[in-house]
Symmetry: C2
Subunit: 341 residues, 2 copies
């Protein structure tokens, strides 16, 4: 009943344990006949190398630590939507396909040295970090530690660390270009705060698109706001009080777009007839508002997949010149955008 060990296999195949190891790990030079004999013996007793022992002797495992940093309840939902959950699912799927276990280490929320030691002592091959907060002491700890790390949606780089993110700039440009093509010229931006990466980058994309179209940015049309639905609602109310000439709005997120939509409706403005609107993220909620929201889709599956591949192939694989993974976005045209009238 006890698990078969390499000793058992060696005995059956009539070879040494060293040979068993070589035959099964594949690489080393070994005679075809011996390999077959060992393989058959292994199969006959259902032998599978002890992962823990391998880990100890190799000083490294086929395990990736997954850390999720955030406060608040249900940190992985973005505006009530399981946004990061999709990313995680993709991470799990890709790790599985590559033969890597995923480890959610416990007791890592104490002191920093212990955090890093905890990862080291577990012999993880690398770490994946999904952080909803952009500042966390563990981010720096991980960057300076000699552990291959990929951050998701956190801009952090080091000799063994890089990150994956959506192409926020390109996405915002797609949104703005779409409106420009529809003939809009006075396009307002309900932008996130400049302190967040997404906020900054998306505003930048908006500005770039206008500049590329030969338009100056009208400061009165740029409205920073929090990322909440209510924040965007309030910002839109103010905007509409001050400016009646707006024909289109880009919001920094779908959730914010829902707030914008409500402000427009309350004002009696029809969407998209009077005002066009574009969101960002493509969360499920887009389908449930009326009209369904035109938005910029973040490819969550590609983010998760990209994070794992970058970690395994580049960082763990020892590739030089590691660059961040920037995942392209996609314009999804639904009901909130139309030609200027």
């Amino acid at each position: 009943m006890a698990m078969a060990t390499s000793k058992d296999v060696a005995r059956i195949a009539g070879v040494s344990r060293a040979t068993v190891s070589r035959a099964l790990s594949g690489s080393s030079r070994i005679s075809g006949a011996t390999r077959e004999r060992v393989t058959a013996a292994a199969q006959s007793v259902g032998y599978e190398p002890n992962v823990v022992a391998q880990s100890l002797v190799r000083q490294r495992s086929h395990t990736i630590a997954l850390s999720i940093f955030s406060d608040g309840k249900n940190p992985l939902l973005l505006g009530g939507e399981p946004f990061y959950f999709d990313v995680l699912e993709s991470i799990q799927h890709e790790a599985d396909a590559r033969g890597y276990d995923l480890l959610l280490p416990s007791r890592i929320y104490t002191d920093l040295p212990a955090y890093v030691r905890g990862l080291t002592t577990r012999h993880v091959a690398g770490a994946l970090m999904v952080a909803l907060r952009t500042t966390d002491p563990r981010i720096d700890a991980l960057v300076s530690a000699a552990i291959p790390t990929v951050f998701v949606d956190v801009v952090a780089e080091g000799p063994q660390a890089t990150y994956v993110t959506s192409d926020n700039i390109g996405g915002a440009r797609q949104a703005t270009d779409h409106l420009l093509h529809l003939g809009h010229r006075r396009i307002a931006a309900i932008s996130g705060y400049a302190t967040s990466l997404a906020g900054t980058e998306r505003l930048l994309g908006y500005q770039q698109a206008l500049a590329h179209a030969g338009l100056a940015v009208d400061p009165g049309l740029v409205r920073p706001s929090g990322f909440g639905m209510e924040d965007a609602y309030a910002a839109t109310v103010t905007l509409l009080n001050e400016r009646r000439d707006v024909t289109a709005i880009v919001a920094a997120s779908d959730l914010m777009a829902v707030g914008v939509l409500r402000a427009l409706h309350e004002r009696g403005l029809r969407v998209p007839h009077d005002v066009s609107l574009v969101g960002f993220d493509d969360i499920d909620l887009c389908l449930y508002v009326d009209p369904p929201l035109t938005t910029i889709r973040q490819d969550r599956a590609a983010m998760g997949r990209g994070a794992v591949r970058c970690l395994i192939d580049n960082l763990i694989g020892g590739v030089h010149a590691i660059t961040p993974v920037v995942v392209p976005t996609q314009l999804v045209i639904r009901g909130t955008t139309g030609p200027v009238t």
Copy 2:
């Protein structure tokens, strides 16, 4: 830079490695002075026992394998709601608090013997299994394997295996009792199919409540249906065509209740004035329908917590007479129930 080992600590403290191990693991009898000396030495070099080595020698780790079985995309959402995600979050939180790592093993979706061997070779202390399907060969494999296992929402028991589930019967009884107290007598049940545990148990609770109130179950008021929104919609349409005397309906899930609600609205029936309605689960959607849905709340956090505690304290802890964990439900009264008129 290399991690300090017990050898380093032993040298600094002037003792043997055996003593270091004893001093740090706490339990063994050791002199206070030695313990202090060892602790200080350990602290000075930032020593932390190598988890992998411990795992190898103890033939067991502080790790719980977490398996999630399902097909379909986003298996952990229940009707578009991150139902199981909440459960997982609670599992993670509790495991962390207890000092257990969580492991999502890779390559476990192949053959059964390899699946079990994979867990054994990783020296996991136990396994937690969230299965959205009630039949899966791995369920049986895990039950018969000598690995402590707790299933979530799957009724499976063995010498080292048990499960956690909501009190479906009690919950359905709460729902029905609530309507009875409001004076309803002709209460219909849009029940899930009898092939699912939730469907069966919830129907049973409904029947028990009626029986307890001295009422016979009217077969014409019991409508089995699929668990989808559309299924429940269709079943309700049929029900209303055949029976005009219904004053209240219990649905086997919130998602189904939304379908019921639509059928009622289309029929021109006002809720709760003409017909009262109770759901089951308490997913977020309850708040977004009009009127907000009265329902039976499943305590997702308690389910996750209960699963981890049962696994660690009972199964791993070697307690005899393991019993399933049945988590109480709670009636949440919102806008869809009122007195019979």
